[in-house]
C-alpha cells in the first residue's frame, strides 16, 4: 500500500473483543488530510458510528486509541497518544491524552490506531506485535495495581522495550473516573479506565521495530534541532517547566486569586507556600523527567515509600492541597502515587472529596469528611477504587452525588467532569472554557485562557471582552496540536520571550490592554483562517508538518483542522443531548462574587457564551449550524 503522506504507518485496526478477531478499518489519505490523527481522527470514527443511543458501558461503545502523524518522527514532545470513547462519567464523548510509550510502540508495530469493539467474554489482556493480536487470560493480572501490573507484563513479555497500558483496581470496579496508565503517565480524565474495566480488558502490550517514515529527513532533522533549541531557550519551556514543573504555578495562582480553595469557595489559600512548587523543588524533588522525545521535561520525581516515583502536577497539588484544606505536602505526594497505582484521575478524585467535605459540613450528607481532616484519605481512596463503604458512593463523582444529596450550587463540575485547579471567578475566560469544553470541566480542552488572564500575560481577567474569540482560537490550536501527536506544552513557546521577560515593561502593558480590544481581529482569523496562510516564526508546528509529513500546512490551515475537530466532537455530544443548557457552571461561580467587595469577581457566563456561539457558527442552542458543518467538510 502506498501512502500519500509520511508519518503514518497506514493501518487502523479494529479489534472485536467479543469474538477476538481483528480486521482493518478503512482510512484513506483524504481522511488523513481532513482529520490528521489523535483525537480528531477518533472523533471522525466515532461520529460515523455513534447514534446517540449508546451508553458508556455497552458493547457499542468503541474505544479508539490513536496516534498522531508526528508521533515517532522525532518531533519535540511527540510521544503522545489519545484515547476516545463515550465517558461513563459524563455520558458524552471522552478524550484523554497520555505521554506513555504505548503510542510510539503502536507505530513501531505498524499501526496508527486501534478500535476496540465489544466486550471480552472473560478477563483478558491483549498482546500486539507486527504480525499478531494475541488474547491472554488476565486472571493473574486482575486485581493488581498499575505498577505491579506493568511489572508482571514485563515478565510475561520477557523484555522491557515495548509499549503498555493498563487499568488498576478502580477501572476493574468501574469507578466513574478511573484512568488508564502507560508507564508512569496517565490518560487520567473522563473515566476511560472504567470503560476498559467493563470490557474486561486489563492491559494491552505492543511491540515492533518498524520505523516511522519521514518526508524530508535532512530538513526535518534540521528543523527539529532548531525547534528544540527554541524551546530550551524560552523562559517557560526552557526554564520554568524543567525547573519547577507545572507545580511552579501554585504561587502565581495564589497571587492572582486563582488557587481553588476549599471546594472553590475561595481563590486564596493561607498555607499555599507549604504546598507550592517552590517547596516541592526545595524539599522533595529529586530531579525532572520527561516523556520520550521531550526536551521540556516538566515531570517531577519524588520519594514516596522509599521509591522514586513521578511527583504531582499542579492540579493535584492544588486540588489535594488548599481545595481540601490540606497543607501537608508529603501526604499529597503519597496520595498522588496511590491514585496512580489504583488507576484513578487525581483531579476528579480530589474534586469529589472536596464536594463531599462541604456537603458534610453543610449537613447534606453525613460522611465523616471535613476540610483539613486528612488522616483517613488514603484508606478512602482505596475504598473508592474497590467500591467499599462510602467509597462506593464517592466512586460516582460530584455530579451524581450532588443530584442525590443536594448541593448542586457548589458541585464543581461541568457536564459531569470535575473542574481543574483554576478558580475561574478571577479568570472569567477560563470560566467560559470550563463551561463549553467538549469533555466537560477541563482547563485545556476549555482553551486555557488563564494563560492570558494572569498566568503568563496580565490581560484584564474580569472583562468578557474578546474572551470568546480567544477561547475559540486556543481551543482549535490545541485540538490540532493534540491530533498531531504532540504535547500541548509546545504551544507555550508561542508567546514571545520578551512578553514574559519584561512583565512590567510598557510593551507588555500595551499588549495586555490591547488584547481585550482585538476580539474583532481574532474573530476574523477564526472565521477566515485561510487569511493566515503562513508559518509563524514562534510556532514551529506548521513547518514540521510540511517537512516531516509532506502535507501542505500553514497556520490558517492548522487552526481550521482544529476547528473541524472541535465541531465534530460537539456534533457527537449534541447527539447525546448536549445543548446550551449543558454549557454551564455551578451557581457559586456565576452568581456569587469571589470577593464580596468586588461584585465583578464572578463569571459572566451567559454574555460570553452568546459571543462564543456566534464565533463558532453555532445556533442559540449551542448546535453547530448546517453551514458551519458544511464549511468544515464535516457533512
Amino acid at each position: 500500500m502506498s501512502l500519500k503522506y509520511s508519518g503514518y504507518m497506514g493501518k487502523v485496526m479494529a479489534v472485536d473483543l467479543t469474538t477476538e478477531t481483528v480486521s482493518e478499518y478503512p482510512w484513506s489519505d483524504t481522511e488523513r488530510e481532513l482529520y490528521i490523527g489523535g483525537k480528531i481522527m477518533a472523533a471522525r470514527i466515532l461520529a460515523d458510528h455513534l447514534t446517540g443511543k449508546e451508553t458508556a458501558f455497552s458493547e457499542d461503545n468503541w474505544v479508539v486509541i490513536s496516534t498522531g502523524p508526528l508521533t515517532g518522527t522525532g518531533a519535540p514532545s511527540s510521544a503522545r497518544f489519545n484515547i476516545s470513547a463515550l465517558s461513563p462519567q459524563t455520558g458524552i464523548l471522552a478524550s484523554s491524552n497520555c505521554g506513555g510509550s504505548f503510542g510510539l510502540y503502536l507505530k513501531k508495530a505498524g499501526y496508527d490506531a486501534l478500535i476496540l469493539k465489544g466486550q471480552c467474554r472473560k478477563k483478558r489482556w491483549l498482546e500486539i506485535n507486527e504480525e499478531q493480536f494475541i488474547f491472554h487470560d488476565a486472571d493473574e493480572l486482575w486485581g493488581t495495581k498499575t505498577g505491579e501490573c506493568q511489572e508482571k507484563l514485563i515478565e510475561l513479555i520477557g523484555k522491557k522495550n515495548f509499549g503498555k497500558l493498563c487499568i488498576g483496581p478502580a477501572g476493574e470496579n468501574l469507578v466513574k473516573y478511573a484512568s488508564i496508565v502507560s508507564d508512569e503517565r496517565s490518560a487520567g480524565r473522563t473515566g476511560l479506565g472504567a470503560v476498559l474495566g467493563w470490557k474486561n480488558l486489563k492491559a494491552i502490550t505492543v511491540s515492533g521495530t518498524k520505523m516511522v517514515p519521514v518526508h524530508d529527513k535532512e530538513q526535518t532533522a534540521q528543523w527539529i534541532k532548531k525547534w528544540v533549541s527554541y524551546l530550551q531557550s524560552h523562559p517557560l519551556t526552557g526554564k520554568q517547566l524543567p525547573k519547577l514543573g507545572t507545580a511552579g504555578l501554585v504561587s502565581s495562582m495564589q497571587m492572582h486569586g486563582l488557587l481553588s480553595t476549599r471546594n472553590a469557595s475561595a481563590g486564596h489559600f493561607e498555607d499555599f507556600e507549604k504546598v507550592s512548587g517552590e517547596t516541592l523543588a526545595e524539599e522533595y524533588n529529586i530531579t525532572n523527567k520527561g516523556c520520550a522525545t521531550c526536551p521540556i521535561r516538566c515531570a517531577r520525581t519524588v520519594k514516596v515509600y522509599d521509591k522514586t516515583v513521578k511527583g504531582p502536577e499542579l492540579e493535584t497539588l492544588v486540588l489535594l492541597g488548599g481545595n481540601i484544606g490540606n497543607c501537608n505536602l508529603q501526604k499529597i505526594l503519597d496520595w498522588n502515587y496511590e491514585l496512580d497505582e489504583l488507576g484513578m484521575d487525581t483531579i476528579s478524585a480530589a474534586g469529589t472529596i472536596a464536594w463531599a467535605m462541604e456537603a458534610n459540613e453543610k449537613g447534606l450528607w453525613h460522611n465523616g469528611l471535613s476540610f483539613g481532616s486528612i488522616d483517613t484519605l488514603s484508606s478512602i481512596f482505596d475504598d473508592i477504587a474497590h467500591r467499599r463503604g462510602i467509597g462506593d458512593e464517592l466512586a460516582e463523582g460530584t455530579k451524581r452525588l450532588s443530584e442525590k444529596y443536594g448541593g448542586k450550587e457548589f458541585a464543581m463540575h461541568s457536564k459531569g467532569l470535575e473542574l481543574s485547579a483554576y478558580e475561574p471567578r478571577r479568570a472569567v475566560g477560563q470560566g467560559l472554557g470550563y463551561a463549553v469544553s467538549n469533555r466537560g470541566g477541563c482547563h485545556l480542552n476549555g482553551g486555557y485562557l488563564v494563560i492570558l488572564e494572569g498566568l503568563g500575560l496580565n490581560v484584564d481577567s474580569q472583562t468578557p471582552k474578546a474572551k470568546a474569540d480567544f477561547t475559540m482560537l486556543f481551543q482549535d490550536l490545541m485540538e490540532m496540536i493534540s491530533a498531531s501527536g504532540q504535547c500541548l506544552f509546545t504551544s507555550y513557546a508561542f508567546f514571545p520571550a520578551f512578553l514574559l521577560n519584561k512583565p512590567n515593561g510598557m510593551l507588555v502593558k500595551i499588549v495586555n490592554f490591547a488584547a481585550t480590544h482585538v476580539g474583532w481581529a481574532v474573530r476574523l482569523i477564526n472565521k477566515f483562517p485561510r487569511i493566515c496562510a503562513l508559518h509563524l516564526p514562534m510556532f514551529h508546528h506548521t513547518k514540521m508538518f510540511t517537512l516531516a509529513i509532506g502535507m501542505k500546512m500553514d497556520f490558517g490551515h492548522y487552526i481550521e483542522i482544529g476547528e473541524r475537530g472541535y465541531n465534530l466532537e460537539r456534533m457527537i455530544n449534541n447527539r447525546f443531548g448536549i445543548t446550551a443548557e449543558n454549557d454551564k457552571l455551578p451557581k457559586r461561580l456565576t452568581n456569587v462574587p469571589q470577593d464580596p467587595k468586588h461584585p465583578e469577581t464572578k463569571v459572566p457566563l451567559e454574555t460570553m457564551k452568546k459571543t462564543y456561539y456566534q464565533a463558532r457558527g453555532w445556533d442559540k442552542n449551542g448546535i453547530p449550524k448546517e453551514k458551519t458543518l458544511r464549511r468544515l467538510k464535516i457533512k
Binding site: 526554564k239 511552579g248 517552590e278 519584561k502 512583565p503
Partner: protein, 78 residues
C-alpha cells in the same frame, strides 16, 4: 524594615525564600536585594512581577516600614 519574599525561578536559583531589608523606595530595595546574592541581578528582578502588600507594584513605587514585597518570576503552563 521591608519583608521581601521571592517566588518562582528567582527563589530556586538564588536559594533565598525571604529576607528583611531596609528601603524607602523600590529602587533602593532592588539595589539592596542584588547585594544579598550573586545569583540575583537587576536583570532578574526586571523579569519579576512585583506585589506590594498584595497589590501590583513597580520599580518606581515608594515603600513604608512594614511593607511586604513579593518578587515572582513569570510562569505559565499547567
Amino acid at each position: 524594615m521591608i519583608t521581601v519574599k521571592l517566588f518562582g525561578l528567582l527563589r530556586i536559583e538564588s536559594g533565598i525564600k525571604e529576607l528583611h531589608l531596609e528601603a524607602d523606595t523600590m529602587k533602593q530595595l532592588c539595589d539592596n536585594l542584588c547585594l544579598q546574592s550573586e545569583r540575583i541581578s537587576k536583570k532578574d528582578l526586571d523579569k519579576c512581577i512585583i506585589l506590594i502588600n498584595g497589590n501590583k507594584g513597580n520599580k518606581r513605587s515608594k515603600l513604608q516600614d512594614g511593607d511586604t514585597v513579593i518578587f515572582m518570576s513569570p510562569v505559565a503552563g499547567g
